[in-house]
């Protein structure tokens, strides 16, 4: 089934590979500031895609996905600084980062697996708010239990690699992460599970009557989405160099993951990509001077978006095209 999908969408895949090649050249051409903007766009795209594995595909909108950014970041940070130690990290920064990724993703998988069964019995707003609660609880535990060092903060060593500048290193790491998550999302969407999820998103009870194992599917997607989000949290934490609770458990992360998808088009792959580019360019480049208004502008954007284009750019475009085709027929 996947092979058919690859054949059918070969032009899109070609375009994606071409885009990847172009993006890989960016750090050699652009100024460091612009590379950093590129980093942010990649991080946002990847986060949007990771969120949509559950939110867009299964229809379970998490309002607290920053829980896994924070959890991944702190699990990896504690492991790297406490277990491996600074000397090891200095000597083998890439190995350290790799192990940190494994630990961060593992922590997210375990926690997501543990809360998945009870929390996924909730639907709609109840699930959304329960996830808000998960994020709140994790961030509070990180902040108030001394062993987690949430209030003191954790310092990550720099990652010198192949003579690249720091922002280029993280740019490439995020580029790889984005490509991997995109490939996973493509595979899921076009596999049997993807069709089952589409049915479930529209009507869960009916899907179950048709034999779609909804329980297993949504738990799988929840854990997958959380684990990938956790990986991004680990990379993000390293790119910051120093984290506290507040810098990785951020409500606006949770919000933005929804906004990218909403703006681009819920349940599609291109949606979160378009959405994150527009949002980052808008908030960082055009409105970059208003740092202290950042949260305000994000909120305002969300409000405007829901009112102006509730189906997102892709949805609006498809509706437009269908109307035109119907008019022609």
């Amino acid at each position: 089934m996947l092979r058919e999908a690859i054949a059918r969408q070969r032009w899109w895949i070609l375009a994606a590979l071409l885009g990847l090649a172009v993006l890989a050249c960016v750090p050699f051409v652009l100024m460091p500031f612009h590379v950093r903007v590129g980093q942010l766009i990649l991080l946002s795209t990847a986060l949007g895609l990771a969120w949509t594995l559950l939110g867009g595909f299964a229809g379970y909108w998490s309002f607290g996905h920053t829980a896994f950014i924070g959890l991944g970041a702190f699990a990896a940070g504690l492991f790297e600084t406490q277990m491996l130690g600074t000397p090891f990290m200095r000597a083998q920064p890439l190995v350290g980062l790799g192990l940190g990724l494994v630990v961060g993703m593992g922590a997210c998988a375990v926690v997501a697996g543990a809360v998945a069964w009870p929390i996924l019995r909730l639907r709609g707003i109840y699930f959304a708010v329960a996830m808000l609660g998960v994020a709140q609880v994790l961030s509070e535990l990180t902040n108030s239990i001394d062993a987690f060092k949430g209030s003191m903060g954790l310092v990550f060593p720099r990652i010198p690699a192949f003579g690249l500048r720091q922002e280029a290193v993280f740019y490439y790491l995020l580029l790889i992460a984005t490509a991997v998550i995109l490939a996973i999302a493509f595979a899921v969407k076009n596999a049997r599970i993807g069709h089952g999820l589409a049915a479930m998103r529209e009507d869960e009870d009916t899907a179950r009557m048709l034999g779609v194992p909804t329980e297993r599917y949504k738990i799988t997607m929840f854990v997958l989405s959380a684990t990938l989000t956790g990986a991004l949290g680990v990379i993000y934490a390293h790119s910051l160099g120093y984290i506290t609770t507040g810098s990785v458990y951020r409500t606006d992360f949770s919000l933005n993951m929804i906004v990218y998808n909403l703006l681009g088009g819920m349940g599609t792959l291109i949606g979160p990509m378009i959405g994150s580019v527009i949002m980052v360019v808008l908030t960082q480049v055009i409105l970059g001077g208003f740092l202290n208004l950042h949260m305000f502008l994000t909120g305002a954007m969300l409000v405007a978006l829901v009112l102006a284009a509730p189906r997102g750019i892709v949805g609006t475009w498809l509706a437009f095209r269908r109307r035109r085709r119907d008019a022609a027929a």
Binding site: P118, L122, G133, V137, E140, N292, F296, L302, V306, P310
Partner: protein
Amino acid sequence: MLALQTILDGLVLGGLYALAAVGFSLIFGVLGVVNLSHGAIVLIGAYFTWFAWHVTGMDPLLCIPPVMLVLFGLGYIYQRGLIQLAVDRSSLLASMLVTFGVALMLRNALVLAFSPDFKSISPGWAFSFLRLGPLTIDLVRISALAASLALLGALAYVLNRTSIGRVIRATAQQELAARLCGVNARHVYAVTFGVSAAFAGASGAILGIVLPFSPPDEANWTLNAFVVVVLGGVGSPSGALLGGLLLGLISTATSQLIGPAFPNVMMFLILVLMLMVRPAGLLGNAFAGTR
């Protein structure tokens, strides 16, 4: 004795939770909207009161009526201008996103206006206290509890005994039927929202004299309200009171017995447990069978 003191503290906090949640519960029950900006509205009430007290030295309890009046107006406009529009144009889930966006905007605006630091309100009588045998009760707490209960009672009276209350309850149960009887449903929804915002504001004023507060707290107050509703049931002051008192007792007991970092963790566990075991709350939905 420690146990008795804990219970007393829990009740005071619980009264405050109940009052802060009752508006959230009302909107959820009547409009079906989950207002994620509710906590921010509570804090607006708190900052408004802090400002009045700080600048003019006005007694915080006297600030309650003007705060309620102002927030009623703002709530009315907020619902009619924004939330109703979102519900009409897409869905209830989308309207929830709008309130999420507004919450962020308000939090940011509060930080800009009042700085991100903690504030607290301490009126002249803040340090007087009563002795009831071995128990000490400071005047602040007892007046906070009294004010919370009085306001909840007033809301229950309005909902159950007045004509606007009847109209609100009728619209919640059968919007179409109410409209056929000549009720302007949109106006009723906006009034309900206004009432909810007014009570949130009042709870903010009381919150200010009991606890310190800062803009990022808004998320906690929204979450508290949600838990109260899940515990007590949707839409009624009595449900909010039951849920609020339970929550107050649980969080006081948790921070006494387990540690000050854990009330929210415990609260969250209870939230998920309740949603799974008894999703309609202990008292059920006041507008049962509507949705």
